[in-house]
Symmetry: C2
Subunit: 395 residues, 2 copies
């Protein structure tokens, strides 16, 4: 066994982001993910730009390491084939609107009758229970409803959406966790189960201290900008040519910081001796630091503060992120060779494992690229039988 | 077995957020998490306000379901006890600065000699390899360096930090995934391993389409505000008394939306017939919709748009989130009884499992609450031996 999830077979009905993100994580760690797509169309995100030689860059970046087969699940014969494949698999993942699988005759209740060991993961906007369960959601809707927008933004400014689709992505992460926990349970008991993850629920789960603050003080948390609410200095400052994040989280770091910026006198200044004092005298202190930081370039300050051991960082745009030496050393920027799109950069595998390091062994699949291969492998069909299915429009 | 991770013993050396978040997820699903803290002080976040009867609300909200023992790991005898406990455990999790465990004589290389099946998870700012590995990081630093700030904010506005500490939280999520994958591998092979997760790596992993867009077009992504970059209407609009997020993601929803707002004429208007046209004629279309939405209250529009099946949502502040009927129905707001803090609200368990639903069975522990119990349970020490250790200041 070279990979942590080797041998785990996943039938993947997901599309767009939340579901495909979950199955990508599993595929990155060696699970055999079979993407089942509608003939002719496939995952909606195959239509999302930008394109490279006709292939969606969006799709390619979250469907690596998976194989693709097509199957028209609206046809009865295709549903039977799906059932037969399901018997040979460990996990099913879907992110349809609740009820869709039932309409296809492929709801969890039916599947578990045929294969009680199956793990069925459903990732949806609002979950498979509760008054909103039948509603459609988009990332923007759950970010709005879930509270994260109300605490993101400039100080006392407009409620702001988080740039990446964090509503989808965190649901994908929690789904992967739920599936892996269910695999552990199955390894012990032989019993499968349904894992139901809602994007909205996950938003609540990542609000961090905002809930505790509200529950205790009764004050409704607001956008707080880029400054730490109680530590000084802990925010971005303008440099001669840009901006830098400085995070001197305690008194020791404060002293190191003062030395690094050649303001040793601040260390002994009674007004700034402790963090509570720095907080209290922030209106006085900030301009002193700001003037100093403006004197040199970001690059200069990065070197000076790194040497002094003061936590800091450039506020990188995406081009700079992809050139960051630490991320490159950690193989977090990888180039994948795609048959039609050519070489294509994407994030590497963020979980580093000493015995079973995940890797990218294949690019995202062309629609239906592996239909024949999978039908043979899982169902032992002959070339003739496969040709007949094709003629009937089953795939 | 009632819980998915029942029987898995975790020695938890983590503090503050990323590590404790990972072990909370595991504890929520039944893992036995033993928090090992420094005598007298404990997890730094015990000092983070706000407090309820002297207990940190912050600490309580991410350390439920765990037990606490104290152990002064700077003392040799404590290190020996730790080694003995480690032999009886499955997982060790720490989020110290890399090198700290080695200095204590408890590095992974030593631990695995004694227990090759141990899974050792380290969650740090920059990871255990690469040129930055010895540096300290805070959430603000990795949000800055990792690119998410550069794509969050008002359109073409200032780079904005995501409100919750998404740098810590996503690292916690990926750590939990890595640990569970390693458990699967160990279930098959008996072999443990080290799982090394860096906050910065995880930031890259959640940038979504920003990387694909940059790699393909060469254009550096910027903050895009709250409007979808290519779909119309898909953004917040002001109502008579607040704001509402409206997400009409395709032409069918566009028609439903026009009917719901009594602008049927827009459906047939050639300027707005398709999404590309609505995008192109956005400057004309937006004011029409904006005027209409201003006519009624948020509450009115929520009802009207829900009835019409148009995805939408209020932009909730935290107080409203905690009252949301869907979240309440999904048991995502739970009240935990704490011995000194009393009743205390926090997020529920976002992974809903049909056979092994996670639950909150105990509140966050008082510092060292379970030292005696754990020393007896894991090491079979007598009351006398435990008293001696206490006198020696081992815990």
């Amino acid at each position: 066994m070279k990979q942590a999830l080797e041998g785990i077979k996943v039938l993947d009905l997901t599309r767009v982001l939340a579901g495909p993100y979950a199955t990508m994580i599993m595929a990155d760690m060696g699970a055999e993910v079979i993407k089942v797509e509608m003939p002719g169309v496939g995952d909606d995100s195959r239509q999302f730009g930008p394109y490279v030689n006709g292939e969606s860059a969006y799709f390619m970046s979250i469907n690596r390491n998976k194989r693709s087969m097509t199957l028209n699940l609206k046809k009865e014969k295709a549903q039977r084939l799906f059932m037969d494949m399901m018997k040979k698999c460990d996990v099913i993942v879907e992110n349809f609107r609740p009820g869709t699988m039932e309409k296809l005759g492929l709801g969890y209740d039916k599947l578990k009758e045929v294969n009680p060991a199956i793990i069925y993961a459903a990732c949806s906007g609002f979950g498979h229970s509760g008054p909103y369960s039948q509603r459609a959601a988009y990332d923007a809707v759950v970010q709005a409803m879930g509270g994260i927008m109300s605490i993101t933004g400039e100080k006392d400014g407009k409620f702001t959406r988080v740039g990446p689709s964090i509503g989808d992505i965190t649901a994908g992460l929690f789904s992967a966790i739920g599936i892996l926990a269910a695999i552990n349970y199955r390894n012990q008991t032989g019993q499968g189960q349904k894992v139901d993850v809602a994007m909205l629920d996950c938003q609540l789960a990542i609000l961090e201290n905002a809930i505790a603050r509200y529950v205790v003080t009764g004050e409704i948390p607001k956008p707080a900008g880029n400054r730490h609410s109680s530590i000084v200095p802990f925010e971005p400052f303008e440099t001669a040519d840009g901006e830098i994040m400085i995070a001197a989280g305690n008194d020791v770091l404060w002293a190191k910081f003062c030395e690094a910026i050649h303001c040793q006198d601040l260390i002994e200044d009674e007004k700034y001796k402790t963090n509570p004092l720095r907080n209290q005298n922030y209106p006085l202190l900030r301009p002193i630091i700001a003037d100093k930081i403006k004197e040199k370039t970001t690059e200069d300050w990065l070197k000076i503060l790194d040497a002094a051991g003061v936590p800091n960082g450039p506020i990188n745009t995406i081009d700079k992120v992809l050139e960051n030496p630490q991320l490159l050393a950690r193989e977090m920027v990888v180039e994948v060779q795609h048959p039609t799109a050519g070489n294509f950069k994407m994030p590497g595998v963020p979980i580093k494992m000493s015995e079973t390091q995940g890797e990218i062994t294949r690019p995202a699949p062309i629609l239906g690229e592996h239909t024949h291969e999978i039908l043979k492998e899982l169902l032992d069909l002959s070339d003739e039988e496969i040709s007949e299915l094709q003629v009937e429009g089953i795939f």
